[in-house]
Subunit: 412 residues, 2 copies
C-alpha cells in the first residue's frame, strides 16, 4: 500500500520497537504478549506529519481570518512571546493526542525551543524530528549547532535537523553561519519557503533572486534539505529542488486558510522531487488531520491544473508515508518491512465511508477520515486504540491544562 | 449556535418527533423514557445535506480522476443504466449510514427514480427531500408532477420538490412543461446550474444568455428554487438569485475533485442570497462528510478572494443548518426551538481537535470532524450513537449488499 501496491492478507509480527515479520499467516513458537485480530481492516505505515508547530494548539480558533503577515504580527508573535518551556510542554502534548487520532506516528516540529517538546514526545512515546527555527528574533546559529549535536542520538524517538524560520525573517549572516553548519555536518537544511507571493516578490526585489535561488546561492542546500509550503515557485526553483535533493512539504489547508495559494504539486511530481505532507500548526489550519491534507493535496491539484486526473490517490499516499519519512530522514520508518520501526496504524474499513471496496487507496485518500483510525502504534507501543489514549497522562488533564494556559495567556 | 449566537447551558426536552422545551435546567413531572447527560458536549441542529445523489455509493472510488463530462459519459451513465429500484434501495441505505456519522439529519436527494429512495429513508427513519431530475433521457415533466402530488404528504419524513437535471441535458419543451408545473403548484424549481465553464459557454452560444438568465426567462424561478454548484456565475445571475429568492447550494469538494472550479461564495453572501451546502454524490466527492464541506466552503473562499477574512465560521455554520433547511423548505427543522422537529446532533468537545475552547463555532468549522459526532437524532429518534447505528438493518448487511451490487454491476 505505502508504495501504491495492492494490500496483502497476512500477519505482522512486532518485537520491541521493530517489525520482525510481514507475510502470510505462519505458525510460531513465540509467545506473544499482545495479539490483535484486525481481520478485514487495513494496516498501513503511520502517516508522517512533515511540517507542524505543535505547541500552537493554544491559538486554535483564536487568531483566524487574517492574512499571513497580519496574523503573524498582530496575533501570533505577541501571544508566543508569553510562552515558556513548561507551557510548551503541555501544549505539545495536546497536539500529540490529535496526531494519534489521525494516524500520525511522527511529526517534524519547528518551534521556539526544543527542550520541552522533546520531553513531551518522550513522555507520550511519540516520535519527533525537530528542526531549528533560527531567525533574527530568536534562537541562533550557535544554538542550532548545539541542538544538532545534543538531540541526534539523545533518544530513539528524537532527532534534530538544521533549519531556520524563513528567508524573510533571517539575515544573511545567520544564513551563512547555517550554511557552514550544513557543510560541517554534511547535513540538510529546512525552512519555510515561498509561502506567499509577497514573500517571493520582496526577495526578488532585495536580491534579484527567488528565495530558493538566493538560499541555494548561499550553499544552504549543498546537502539537501526541505522547503515547507513552496506555493509560489518557479520552474528554476523546481530544478534546484531536483538537483539538490530538496524535499517539498506541502501544507494545503494552511495555504487555503491564510489565502496563500495552491502549490504546483503536479509539476513537482513530474520533476521527480520528493514530496511530503504537513498539517502546519493548529493556529493556521486549524486541525492536525492527515486525511484532510491528503484529500486537499489531490483535490487542489485537480482544480489548479484544471485536470481531474492530476496527482492520483497512490501518489498522495506515498507522500503521506514514504515521502514524509524521506523528508524527515526517518529511513527506518518508511514501510512495513522486517527491520523497520513498528510505526503503524490500523484503519477500520467497516465504516460507511470505506464501502464498497472498489479501490482501497482511493477510499483512504478521497473518503477516509480520522473516524477510521482504530489503532496508532509508535515504536511498537500502542498509543491510541478505539478512541482511548495511552500516553502516560489522562487526556482530560491535558485538555484542562491547555484551557488554563490559554486563559492565562489571553489575560496577560 | 445555529444562527451564530453563543451556546447556552441547559436542557432540551423532546416528545415524540418534536422539541418541547429548550432552556435552563427545569424540574418536571414528566417521566422520560430516555435521558442523556451530554454535559460538556454540544447540541446543534442536524446538518442538512442540500445536494446529493445518495445511491451513487456504488461508484465510490470507481470512476475517479476524470473531468465532469467524460466522467458522466464514460463511467457514470453506463453503470447507472444497469440500476434498478431494488439496487437503489440498498445503495441509498449505505449513504444514509454515512450521513448519520457526519451529523447530517436530512438530505436533498436527486436521483433516477424516487420510490425506493423514499422507502430506504422511511425504513431507516431518515429525513429526505427528493427533487426531480427530469432530462431528455429519463423521467418526464408529467412524472415530476405525479411525484410532487404523491410524495408531499406521503410520510412525515418525506417531501418532494420540482426539479430537472440541468440546462444542458434538458430540452426547452420539458423546461416549459416544468415552468407550467411551477406555476400550477406555486412551487420552487431546483437544478444543477453553472457547474462548469464549458456548460455556461455552450448555453451562451446557444441562447445568448447564461443558464440562470435562460432558465429565468422561461419562468422556471417565478416561485424561487435553487441551483446546485453555481461555480461559474455572473453578477447578473446573482441579481436573479436575489430577486427570485433562489438558494445556492455549494458543493466545494466535488467542484475541486472534478476540476470544475471555486464558487464565489463571498459575493453571494454579500448579495444576501440564501446559501446551503451539499456533499454532491459519493462518486464525485467521494465522501458524504459535512465537516469537510464546511471547512472547504470557508477555506476556498479565502483563497479565491485572496482574503483570509472571507466567509467566516458562523456564516458557514448557518449554511450547513438554517440555510440548508430553508433551501429544502424544511421550515420546522431549522433551529432548536420548541415546536421544531427534533433533528439534532451531539458533538463531543472532549477530543483533542476541539481543545482548547477559544471559539466553538470556529472549532466546529475549522477543526471539527465526523469523529466528534457522538449522537444523531432524526424526528426524535436516535439513529446513531457512539458509533452504533439503529436503522432497522445491521450495517454489515448493508455493506455486504453494496459490495455484491458493485461486483455484479462491474461484471455485467
Amino acid at each position: 500500500m505505502a508504495d501504491g501496491t495492492e494490500p496483502i492478507w497476512g500477519e505482522i509480527w512486532i518485537e520491541n520497537d521493530k517489525i520482525t515479520y510481514v507475510g502470510a499467516e505462519k505458525p510460531t513458537e513465540i509467545h506473544w504478549d499482545v495479539e490483535r485480530n484486525v481481520c478485514g481492516n487495513l494496516i498501513l505505515p503511520g502517516f508522517k506529519n512533515a511540517h507542524t508547530h505543535s505547541a500552537m494548539t493554544f491559538l486554535r480558533s483564536y487568531a483566524d481570518d487574517l492574512p499571513l503577515h497580519d496574523w503573524l504580527n498582530t496575533q501570533v508573535f505577541p501571544m508566543e512571546a508569553k510562552l515558556n518551556e513548561d507551557l510548551i510542554y503541555h501544549l505539545s502534548k495536546l497536539a500529540i493526542l490529535e496526531y494519534l487520532t489521525s494516524g500520525i506516528t511522527a511529526n517534524f516540529d519547528m518551534y521556539l525551543t526544543p527542550d520541552s517538546i522533546v520531553q513531551a514526545s518522550i513522555d507520550c512515546g511519540f516520535r519527533t524530528v525537530l528542526t531549528g527555527a533560527v531567525n533574527d528574533f530568536s534562537q541562533s546559529a550557535a544554538l542550532i549547532g548545539e541542538w544538532y549535536q545534543k538531540y541526534n542520538g539523545y533518544h530513539p524517538l528524537i532527532s534534530f535537523e538544521l533549519g531556520f524560520h524563513a528567508e524573510y525573517t533571517t539575515s544573511r549572516d545567520i544564513l551563512e553561519d547555517l550554511a557552514a553548519l550544513a557543510a560541517l555536518y554534511r547535513a540538510p537544511v529546512y525552512t519555510h519557503n515561498s509561502e506567499t507571493a509577497s514573500e517571493v516578490q520582496s526577495c526578488v526585489e532585495k536580491t534579484g533572486m527567488t528565495p530558493t535561488q538566493y538560499l541555494d546561492s548561499l550553499h544552504l542546500f549543498d546537502y539537501g534539505g526541505g522547503g515547507y509550503h513552496c506555493v509560489h515557485i518557479t520552474p528554476e526553483d523546481i530544478e534546484i529542488f531536483k538537483q539538490r535533493g530538496i524535499s517539498v512539504i506541502t501544507n494545503p489547508a494552511s495555504n487555503l486558510k491564510l489565502a496563500s495559494g495552491i502549490a504546483p504539486i503536479q509539476a513537482l511530481l513530474d520533476a521527480g522531487v520528493n514530496l511530503a505532507i504537513g498539517t502546519d500548526g493548529p493556529a493556521s489550519n486549524n486541525c492536525l488531520d492527515m486525511f484532510r491534507e491528503m484529500f486537499l493535496t489531490t483535490a487542489l491539484a485537480k482544480v489548479r491544473e484544471n485536470d481531474a486526473s492530476a496527482v492520483d490517490a497512490n501518489a498522495v499516499l506515498r507522500m503521506a508515508t514514504v515521502g514524509g519519512a524521506k523528508a524527515m530522514r526517518l529511513t527506518d520508518c518508511e514501510t512495513l518491512t522486517p527491520g523497520s520501526q513498528a510505526d503503524l496504524i490500523v484503519l477500520d474499513l467497516n465504516q460507511p465511508n470505506m464501502q464498497p471496496l472498489n479501490n482501497i487507496s482511493k477510499n483512504i485518500v478521497y473518503s477516509g477520515s480520522k473516524q477510521n483510525v482504530v489503532l496508532t502504534m509508535v515504536a511498537g507501543k500502542i498509543l491510541y486504540e478505539n478512541g482511548q489514549f495511552d500516553v502516560g497522562e489522562d487526556p482530560a488533564s491535558i485538555y484542562a491544562k491547555a484551557n488554563e494556559i490559554t486563559a492565562q495567556l489571553k489575560a496577560q
